[in-house]
Amino acid sequence: MGKSRADLISDLSSQLKPVKVLSPIGPTILRWFVPSVVASLAVAGLLSLIFAGFDFSVERVLDAKFIIEQALLLSSSLAAGLTALMISRPGIDPTLSRLLSFGTLLLWSVLGMTVLDSFLLPEFAVETMFLGYTCLTVSTLSAIPVGISIHRMVTKGYVMNKPMALFFSILAATSMGSFALQFYCPMVTGAIKLVWHILPIYILSLVGVMLLQAKLKSK
């Protein structure tokens, strides 16, 4: 061992302070997930009242397709949040997190396909397309507190794979935002849901990664 390495080790040892070990991933993700569901539903409910008029319908919520969509959105959010934590922490078997990442994307594909059928319906007119901006506003704003919360959890550790960790963090938050929005949004046309409820999730996640990469490149 060279002298400089010995000096470094001696320096680092003299700076050592007791550290608080990060909680295991399982409890951590649950600490994020459960309050996030409640918070996003509350924020989306409030925003829906302000922007679009509250529209909660028991009949719509009990529809089988709606339940499947919501289950997929929620699973995607959970899987993406878990992946963000797993890939950002050192020492976790990456095979598992990669499988999980693919699983998340697979869930999304299934979700996408559940709404593709309505693209050809006459009600999918250009005018209705433009009504969806309130959905985007509500889901994005509902995702922000949830996103900040997962981001804080991810960056508590020594962060590995920063761009991918950010991608999955945003995916987790925006999926949760979209999940919350759907309870209050009266739109049932699949294509509109695809464009205004689902597509923004991907777009926002990708934009986040691109911004981070640009920032890292400029360093």
């Binding site: 061992m1 060279g2 400089s4 390495r5 470094l8 080790i9 001696s10 680092l12 040892s13 003299s14 700076q15 050592l16 302070k17 007791p18 550290v19 608080k20 070990v21 990060l22 295991p24 922490r89 050192p90 020492g91 976790i92 078997d93 990456p94 550790g157 020594y158 590995m160």
Partner: protein, 180 residues
Amino acid sequence: MSDKDTSRSELTQLIVKAQAGDSQAYMQMLERVGQLVERFMYKRLKASDLVEDLVQDVLLNIHKALHTYNSEYPVEPWVYAIARNRLNDHLRKIKKSVEIQVDADSIPEQAADAEIRALDLQALDRAMSKLSEDQRKIVTLLKFDGKSLKETATEMNMTVSAVKVAAHRGYKVIFKELEV
């Protein structure tokens, strides 16, 4: 229990003590981790100065990441993940510097960066074998024979731009093969 298992469990205990603030245990842990990382880096890079620099960087990162180790998991993947992260950052920097050189007209081909030379030569041979004949000749002329773009273009009977494009594509293949 084998010697390896004993050594692993000792290292785990040292890290747990270090997390609690035991600086003697921390010192021993860093020495052992330093040896692990040195072997890890030496397998991938052949230049000893570079290895030592990277080992020290990894030790600094381990200092920052000490709270992320969970004693329920094996210690080596944790150490190697941090080491690999640092190595990848380093290789990305080399790649970036090569790309900048290709983009600029004045590629100091003579230099054939010391760090590229430091990469595992066998891996480099394998990567070179994936290139087309022209790309291989161009990369060899530019990076190993120290020819300028103009000289390479003349020798290959190509334009300077065509040489730059072929070289750039060649580097991309090499970096992909080297998983940079």
